[in-house]
Symmetry: C2
Subunit: 374 residues, 2 copies
């Protein structure tokens, strides 16, 4: 019992852990505890579907990005690809959708391929990581909406600017500060974290400008640290402190909350090659239905508790109208869960994957034209 | 008082500290405490002047290097240049002389220019570090005996293999192991240490082979760690555990013992452009003379306590005969300290610097022909 308590305390101590799997459910508490700001839909020009639906729930210093968009000033957006398995979690796809939004608002867009980290942490040889990125991840990101002509892709293994800058960044944080942010000072964490600092700041070496990093909440520690570092390097490099936007997590199909994107149990991935298996899984998704069909017909279901609805809202149904109908027909008791899943979840999931597959096939053909940043 | 005791205890705890200035006087104790081996002159083929004179006092696994030399098998030797100030301490020059020895015995020779570290730790911009290395350090190393045709020079800032390998290495050491070896886990130390691990091991990526790192004793922690890492990466990369040879420190002219090569007070450097100032300094060097001239004439001096003799032995007099005469004429009381300094220390120091200046001027002309490893 005592051991359990100690363990619980430790888990609470470091709520956000980019490498771990601690549970995070109370977004408002997170916003307060971690000094983020609640996402302000009124501030951001041309808000995206995700913004309107509260999937982007928080941010860090997004005012400067909104201003850059409004005043058509320079800013950048950066995201990364981990080229380990040849698949992408839906949560990652949602982050890419947010990158697409900022790109469409004028952001200079950087996508790094973390082949060095993939080798170090997952034993994927650099060359194999590159091969996978070229074969799958880069065309997938393009299929998800990035414009290859406007996106600067680069491999960590080929970008010396990043590792040089990482070294400079490491001078600016003490051991205790690092521990407070990341929970430990394992050498591999240190190397990986500062490489990310280098990635995030390097677009500002040529021209200092605001930048936004769309991420899942598990990546928040990197933002905390990069902002501290940027502040301390301001006098030398003129850095702007990077901004961030935070995506909500997608629940597993059984309703459990899996924090890590690496945790695939019960989650959907892209691509989804076995559609009949997918449909079977989707049929098992937790819903907000009542105990009996009769009761549900009378009192209606609870869409806010329904994973099928969550998946449709967060991922599969981009158009507002069918989503509103799905919601209403649940509330009113018109649709029982089985019908609803077939009509919405399964239908729109298939549409989503059909659309992805088509765009992916097209993107693969253009991959040879991409010029990588060195 | 209590504070002092605590401080002393801390200093003792980490005897060898590549970044600090703790004093190390008892080489035998070091050999024992740090699991090195006493340098075995009988084992090493064609021993150098430094080896014969005990300036190379210890080693790590030098048997495999001696065997590679004898059997004409592949092996490598690696050293680094910190391109901060445009000068080299005599202690560094002694290490370079040791690299020259291994090169002449057939070692594939690597010299890295630590421009990334120089930027991170001393604020020298990468481009400035490169400029200094090309203008001063590389020709100086050639003047000290390295064959530019047989030496692979590279800039850390341009060598991605090193930073990629550094990342892999960082996976193989825990936080506590790192702390036990280096005394702390400051992020900058971590980044710097693993970059050095990458440097030391990268020649083995193309072909696994034994390698020797000639160093001052302050660098011993890197050897400890790289051997642990090489052992743990053996099954993946087939690495040989790197060997090391250890150079003694050169005392400051006043006889005090300065551990760090960065500590220039009272030490000589290369180049020495103000010869009259140098001669003035050399005249003040601590000697092993008696209190009165009469006593010295009768009983003789103590060359083993004489810094002038140490400098001649370790650096300025390569020929054995004049050194032996210097020693004898001190012991016998024939030369008083002032005469001896003029006849040996000052004369041979000037010869040493004349020789360096001549070779340096020549080396500068060939610098354009060097092809750098990427």
């Amino acid at each position: 019992m005592r051991e359990k308590m100690v363990k619980k305390k430790e888990t609470q101590k470091v709520d956000i852990d980019p490498w771990g799997k601690a549970l995070v459910q109370d977004y408002l508490r997170l916003i307060k505890n971690f000094g983020m700001q609640k996402f302000d839909i009124d501030e951001m020009p041309n808000p995206s579907m995700q913004m309107k639906r509260g999937i982007i729930f928080g941010g860090q210093d997004l005012k400067q990005i909104a201003e850059a968009i409004r005043k058509k000033k320079k800013f950048y957006c950066l995201t990364g690809i981990m080229p380990s398995a040849e698949k992408i979690h839906l949560g990652t796809a949602a982050v890419v959708d947010n990158v697409r939004y900022f790109q469409e608002q004028g952001a200079k867009t950087y996508v790094l391929i973390a082949d060095v980290e993939s080798q170090a942490t997952r034993g994927v040889p650099i060359e194999e990581g590159k091969r996978r990125a070229l074969k799958f991840h880069i065309p997938a990101y393009i299929a998800l909406g990035l414009d290859p002509k406007k996106t600067k892709f680069y491999f960590q293994s080929e970008n010396k600017t990043v590792s040089n800058l990482a070294s400079v960044c490491s001078q600016k944080i003490t051991e205790n500060e690092f521990r407070a942010i990341y929970g430990s000072v394992h050498p591999a964490k240190v190397m990986s974290a500062f490489t990310q600092m280098g990635d995030i700041l390097q677009p500002q070496l040529k021209e200092a400008m605001p930048g936004v990093i769309p991420i899942g909440i598990d990546q928040a520690p990197h933002i905390r640290m990069v902002r501290d570092i940027a502040r301390r390097l301001k006098s030398t490099y003129g850095f702007f402190l990077p901004s961030a936007s935070y995506n909500k997590y997608t629940s597993a199909l059984d309703g459990s909350f899996k924090m890590s994107k690496n945790e695939s149990v019960g989650k959907l991935e892209i691509p989804e090659n076995d559609r009949s298996k997918m449909e079977k899984n989707l049929k098992k998704a937790l819903t907000g239905g009542k105990v009996t069909a009769d009761e549900q017909r009378k009192k209606g279901g609870q869409p806010e508790k329904c994973v099928a609805y969550e998946y449709c809202k967060n991922h599969f149904i981009r158009e507002d109208k069918p989503l509103a109908t799905m919601y209403q027909d649940c509330l009113s008791g018109k649709n029982l869960c089985g019908e609803c899943k077939q009509k919405y979840l399964i239908t729109y999931a298939n549409k989503f994957y059909d659309d992805f597959d088509k765009k992916f096939a097209k993107a693969k053909k253009t991959i040879g034209k991409i010029k990588f940043l060195k």
